[in-house]
């Protein structure tokens, strides 16, 4: 199957965060397999986030014996490091070529939602997720579950033979693997016992270790099987249940394909995933090379996820914020402050992302950046100068000259037609560029940008 412009645009929207206009033109007529092969190739290298090092003062355990002033100072430094990790990742996504890997890293970091207390561990768990994001799920699950940040977040450090804490076991079964409805409360209690002994320590570096003393080695009965199970056995048993494959296939389908689950397709995907030993790449192959992925019912029918929206926009407008704060606020407003999920269940998706407040913001942001950001490279966010206001004052700028140069050789009307299709993926009648007034008093570049500003506000732009 040779891809049309619409189909080529589609795979880049879903397998990444969009593609430049010129690159898109070069993909027309290639097959889905060829394009996806290239997308995977671009993601083969793993670019780690390296915002802070292990020797940083906030990378170790919380120091003892600090005065109140020193504690405050430490907390400020730690908060700043969290921002640094967060924005290093976001900015790298604005510029990355490794689209598929980053996209799946966003997915898995939502699937394994965590809030770290330590910024170094936060970065390290992010890097762990990215490393295995396209590989096999068993390694991903094992390495994430045994990561100090996760053990700390879900209280497994405090899960002991004599005093089990079931938080880790519960979220492991409900969120990471089987999904709700596929285990009992008793299974949670038994799994919690098996996970006793999974601990971490700091020994010049952060490490997972197995603490025999606190491990409960009595027999447990979990999902109908009985034995002296450890946490690794729980991983094996849950992966042996097809429900885990189904749970993951469902979530990936919803993330990459559609807000509406399709049971038949998800079942097929779950079978593939299960049979291929939870190989993530083979699951992605099946999705992006299937015929149904390119059907009209799928193309342009999904509400852009938070990062599909924000990273997509950041890339093609080349958003730059000299200050960090605006980029944090933007994440909060689109509803996904990276590495800072609202709870263990991760972030909402699909229609839940759209309400009056968030839609307002999503429609307004590009206009704000293009309006005020171009001339003086700064803007008062949402027109507010009141520092006490909920809408914080933020500054940022866009550089669309490179973007414009991809269209500037075309005659204006053609350029606008191409722009409309490129931005929206469809012909929207109400903003037909042929109906524009001549605008003879303006440069072509200005007309182009003003038209772009309109397109970015349309509800169609919220879809991919």
């Amino acid at each position: 199957m040779k891809l049309s412009q619409k189909e080529a645009r589609h795979i880049y929207q879903r397998a990444g965060f969009g593609v430049s206009y010129s690159a898109l033109q070069s993909k027309i007529g290639l097959t889905a397999a060829e394009v996806f092969q290239e997308i995977k190739h671009n993601s083969s290298a793993v670019q780690e986030t390296n915002a802070i090092g292990l020797s940083d003062r906030v990378s170790g355990p919380y120091p003892k014996g600090l005065s109140t002033a020193e504690q405050n100072d430490y907390r400020v430094a730690r908060a700043n490091s969290f921002v640094k990790v967060n924005l290093t990742w976001l900015r790298s996504m604005f510029n990355s070529k490794s689209d598929l890997r980053e996209k799946m890293t966003v997915f898995w970091h939502d699937h394994f939602a965590f809030i770290a207390k330590n910024p170094y561990l936060c970065q390290d768990l992010l890097n762990t997720i990215r490393k295995y994001a396209l590989g096999d799920f068993r390694s991903l699950l094992t390495n994430v579950s045994k990561h100090p940040a996760m053990l700390e977040f879900l209280d497994n450090q405090r899960n002991n033979r004599d005093a089990p804490n079931e938080n880790f076991a519960r979220e492991f079964l409900e969120l990471f693997t089987l999904g709700i409805g596929n285990y009992s409360e008793a299974d949670i209690k038994e799994a919690a016992r098996a996970f006793t002994g999974w601990k971490y320590k700091f020994d010049g570096s952060w490490q997972y270790y197995f603490d025999h003393k606190s491990h409960d080695d009595e027999p447990k009965t979990f999902l109908g099987e009985t034995g002296q199970f450890t946490g690794d056995d729980i991983i094996n048993i849950t992966l042996n249940h097809r429900a885990t494959a189904k749970h993951l296939a469902t979530k990936i389908y919803l993330f990459l394909v559609s807000d509406e689950p399709d049971e038949d397709r998800i079942d097929e995907l779950a079978d593939t995933f299960y049979q291929r030993g939870y190989n993530i790449e083979s699951l992605l192959d099946e999705i992006f090379m299937s015929e149904w992925f390119y059907s009209d019912e799928i193309i342009g029918s999904k509400i852009k996820s938070q990062m599909e929206y924000l990273v997509g926009l950041g890339r093609f407008l080349r958003i730059e914020c000299p200050q960090d704060y605006p980029l944090v606020v933007m994440q909060q407003y689109v509803g996904q402050h990276l590495l800072n999920p609202p709870n263990v269940g991760g972030w909402p998706s699909g229609r839940e992302l759209i309400n009056s407040s968030s839609l307002f913001f999503r429609m307004k942001l590009p206009q704000v950046i293009l309006d005020e950001g171009v001339e003086d490279e700064r803007f008062d966010f949402l027109g507010s100068s009141d520092s006490d206001d909920f809408y914080h004052k933020i500054r940022g700028s866009a550089d669309i000259s490179k973007f414009y140069s991809e269209f500037s050789d075309l005659p204006l009307e053609r350029a606008l037609m191409e722009l409309r299709f490129y931005v929206l993926g469809q012909e929207v009648e109400s903003v037909d560029p042929r109906r524009l007034e001549s605008g003879w008093f303006k440069s072509e570049g200005d007309i182009f940008v003003d038209y772009l500003k309109e397109l970015l506000q349309l509800p169609e732009y919220q879809l991919c």
């Binding site: 209280d155 405090r158 005093a163 089990p164 804490n165 079931e166 938080n167 519960r170 409900e174 709700i180 342009g300 029918s301 999904k302 509400i303 609202p342 709870n343 263990v344 269940g345 909402p348 229609r351 839940e352 759209i354 309400n355 009056s356 407040s357 968030s358 839609l359 307002f360 429609m363 307004k364 206009q367 293009l370 309006d371 005020e372 171009v374 001339e375 003086d376 949402l382 027109g383 206001d389 909920f390 809408y391 009648e429 109400s430 903003v431 109906r435 007034e437 605008g439 303006k442 440069s443 570049g445 200005d446 003003d450 309109e454 506000q457 349309l458 509800p459 169609e460 919220q462 879809l463």
Partner: protein
């Protein structure tokens, strides 16, 4: 390429698109037409404010059964010493972090309903929160929210989504009905920020809805409701400015916005505010301190504000959490997910202020958890029937026996 477009007026104009423009004028008057004129017919201007404590607030450490041996034995580290509680009766005292409850109790403005839960309790945050928000139970899954279904019941079209309004950037499932969806707003005074396309005469978001693409259809409808509701809320709340000073936390800011909307006479019957951070598996005494403190400060400012403005006469506040915590503390100085919990009702039209019923028997537990004696949907039903004057059976899809707190 040169681009100088600051302060430039809109230059691209329509050359005529049929049907465009009719719905784009600020038309807050028409917004009043969609629902029954609740202020006259049914409500007497009454409203409900729902405060949702997300994460599972530890009810047993909020309203404390003082002198109860089992409580103290089960929580050697977490139990609040009897003499530290804000004692209200021989049997009960409030956690000292929530002195607002003591004040409200003393003033006769608080009713605490204990042992509230549902059959076949679910200990997952998400599932249990869904259950509370949808008004289903452990056996019945409902896909829509009870506040949204309230809108379904009282509104004949969806022109007034702000009848149910969540303050904040998200919109909880509770406000998504089968037909109608509530509104979310951060700060209605921020009106200049409306995307210019919403004022664009060429695009009629009501006309020719793209039916073949459900997601796009949904977005167009959302834009439509934003257009009319934003105008309405802005117009009507222009003059509002609360005199009470509120703390600067997000939770307090939300409550301040609610108070301002109430005092400006916005025709909203249910406000919804969420406050997060109650999942206290470890180090609870330290950990819970902050969300409870934030809650306490915010609720103090809010209730004093409503009282001084007189709005408390027509406002009922419901405070709930998706579940309580287990009776016995865990080894981490925290508590795991539990079941039945207390809910708080605040107002000055209470029928039975005080402790409405006793907390469940701590010696008769279900798997280490309290047994419920009151279905949370009885609380909803009571509010719907007696306070909002709408047939609760329509909204909850079942009949539930009313309680006597109002």
């Amino acid at each position: 390429m040169s681009i100088h477009n600051k302060h430039r007026r809109q230059f691209i104009k329509s050359t005529g698109v049929a049907g465009a423009g009719t719905l784009l004028l600020p038309n807050f008057l028409s917004a009043l037409s969609g629902c029954a004129d609740l202020s006259k017919v049914t409500l007497d201007g009454r409203r409900l404010v729902v405060i949702q404590l997300s994460g599972g607030n530890d009810g047993l450490n909020t309203l404390i059964p003082t002198g109860n041996d089992i409580y103290h034995r089960s929580r050697p580290n977490l139990a609040v010493a009897d003499n530290k509680t804000l004692k209200i009766t021989d049997q009960y005292g409030f956690n000292p972090s929530v002195d607002v409850f003591r004040w409200l109790y003393d003033e006769g403005l608080l009713s605490v309903v204990n042992g509230v839960g549902y059959p076949n309790p679910n200990r997952s945050h998400f599932r249990s929160m869904d259950i509370w928000q949808s008004a289903g139970d452990g056996n019945t899954e409902l896909a829509s929210g009870w506040v949204g279904r309230y809108l379904d019941a009282v509104c004949k079209d969806d022109s007034d989504p702000y009848k149910a309004l969540q303050v904040g950037i998200k919109l909880d499932m509770a406000l998504r009905g089968e037909l109608r969806t509530g509104f979310s707003v951060v700060d209605p005074s921020q009106h200049d920020a409306i995307p210019s396309i919403m004022r664009d005469q060429r695009i009629d978001f009501a006309y020719g809805l793209p039916a073949q693409n459900p997601a796009l259809h949904y977005l167009y409808k959302s834009v439509q409701s934003i257009q009319s509701s934003t105008d309405y809320l802005h117009e009507i709340s222009k003059t509002a400015d609360s005199k009470t000073s509120y703390p600067s936390t997000p939770f307090s800011r939300k409550l301040k916005t609610v108070s301002e909307l109430i005092s400006s006479g916005v025709d909203t019957s249910i406000y919804y505010v969420s406050h997060e951070g109650f999942d206290s598996h470890a180090n609870q005494n330290h950990f819970l301190n902050w969300p409870l403190k934030v809650f306490n400060e915010g609720l103090t400012a809010f209730t004093k504000d409503l009282r001084s403005s007189g709005a408390l006469d027509s406002t009922l506040v419901l405070v709930f959490s998706e579940f309580g915590r287990r009776v016995e503390e865990n080894a981490s100085g925290g508590t795991d997910h539990g079941t039945a919990n207390c809910v708080f009702l605040i107002g000055n039209q209470l029928n039975r202020a005080g402790i409405y019923n006793d907390i469940p028997d701590l010696s008769d537990l279900d798997n280490g958890d309290l047994k419920y004696s009151i279905d949370f949907r009885q609380v909803y039903a009571t509010i719907l029937d007696k306070w909002l004057k709408v047939d609760s059976e329509v909204v909850l899809k079942q009949k539930f026996e009313n309680l006597q707190f109002i």
